[in-house]
């Protein structure tokens, strides 16, 4: 049974790891918003709220870690595809290295 402390810690961690999840998924393929939410759920078992994801995407775009492109669809409702930039890739590599370092240390 999880106590309150653990639950808080877990939610903080999830929040902190979200940029890593987003960059990791976009490193595999470009995605539109809804797809990204589904992929994060499938890979990391985390259900990100739209109200959390979209502001994060805006911040990552502002920091130039992501790029975007509107792609027309047969439905007439285009999709906004997000892709990782070169800056994003190098940041992702550092984030992964750091996460791995922590894991190695705690497994000591």
């Amino acid at each position: 049974m999880k106590n309150e402390f653990l639950e808080n810690w877990h939610s903080q961690l999830r929040k902190g790891l979200l940029p890593l999840y987003v960059l990791h998924i976009l490193d595999q393929k470009q995605c539109y918003g809804y797809e990204l939410i589904q992929d994060i759920k499938a890979v990391f078992s985390v259900d990100v709220a739209e109200g959390t994801l979209y502001p994060l995407l805006i911040r990552l775009m502002k920091e130039e870690l992501l790029t975007h492109q509107w792609v027309e669809q047969p439905s007439g409702i285009p999709r906004k595809y997000y892709a990782i930039s070169a800056v994003g890739k190098s940041n992702l590599a550092e984030m992964k290295a750091y996460t791995n370092l922590i894991i190695t240390k705690i497994n000591g």
Partner: protein, 196 residues
């Protein structure tokens, strides 16, 4: 923007109302930012409804709208950020004022900017007053060592320093304060970048 057509009439009304609220929430932004934002919300609703086809359409629509949240709340951060970008880009005082108001709760710097804006709009008023009461407007010092800029009293021992240069001085002040405000906005962004 192409609207989504829904089979259920009530669902269509809920959708239309939601999009209408989104449009209102982003109205203050430049046209292309408005368009981009509305297209993305519309696309998200469409993709969600296409993926959750099995469910009742109204139910699915209500679910996705609940996930998105009320437009006014969901778009608050975006609108404030985009407005600052516009103010920095255009040098337009109206956008600057809107950016300051939208961000008043986002840090002390915006309160400083607000006061600078008040000073900024009072300077043209002084220029008009200078045309009406040339002797009473200027930079004054009195015999006690005090000094101030603005509308001066008819006090013995006070001296006005600017003379005919009052209007050019005010114009320069307006430009300097404005440039300083834009600079503050730009610095705010950079410091945030470093902290993140």
């Amino acid at each position: 923007m192409k609207s989504i057509t829904l089979e259920n009439k009530s669902a269509q009304r809920i959708y239309n109302d939601y999009i209408h609220r989104c449009k209102k929430a982003v109205k203050i932004l430049p046209q292309n930012d408005q368009q981009d934002c509305l297209l993305e919300i519309n696309s998200h609703i469409f993709e969600y409804l296409s993926a959750e086809k099995g469910d009742d359409q109204t139910e699915a629509l209500l679910n996705v709208l609940a996930r998105l949240g009320p437009p006014e709340e969901m778009l608050k951060e975006l609108v404030a950020t985009k407005k600052v970008e516009q103010a920095k880009r255009t040098f337009n005082p109206v956008h600057l004022l809107e950016a300051i108001f939208l961000n008043l709760s986002n840090g002390f710097i915006y309160i400083i900017l607000f006061f600078l804006f008040v000073i900024e709009i009072s300077l043209p008023v002084l220029i008009v007053l200078e045309l009406i009461y040339p002797e009473r407007i200027g930079f004054f010092t009195n015999k006690h060592g005090g000094f101030y800029l603005g509308y001066g009293p008819e006090e013995s021992g006070s001296r006005e320093w600017l003379g005919n240069a009052v209007i050019p001085f005010m114009l320069v002040m307006i430009a300097v304060i404005y440039a300083f405000m834009i600079l503050l906005l730009r610095i705010t962004k950079t410091t945030k970048k470093i902290l993140q």
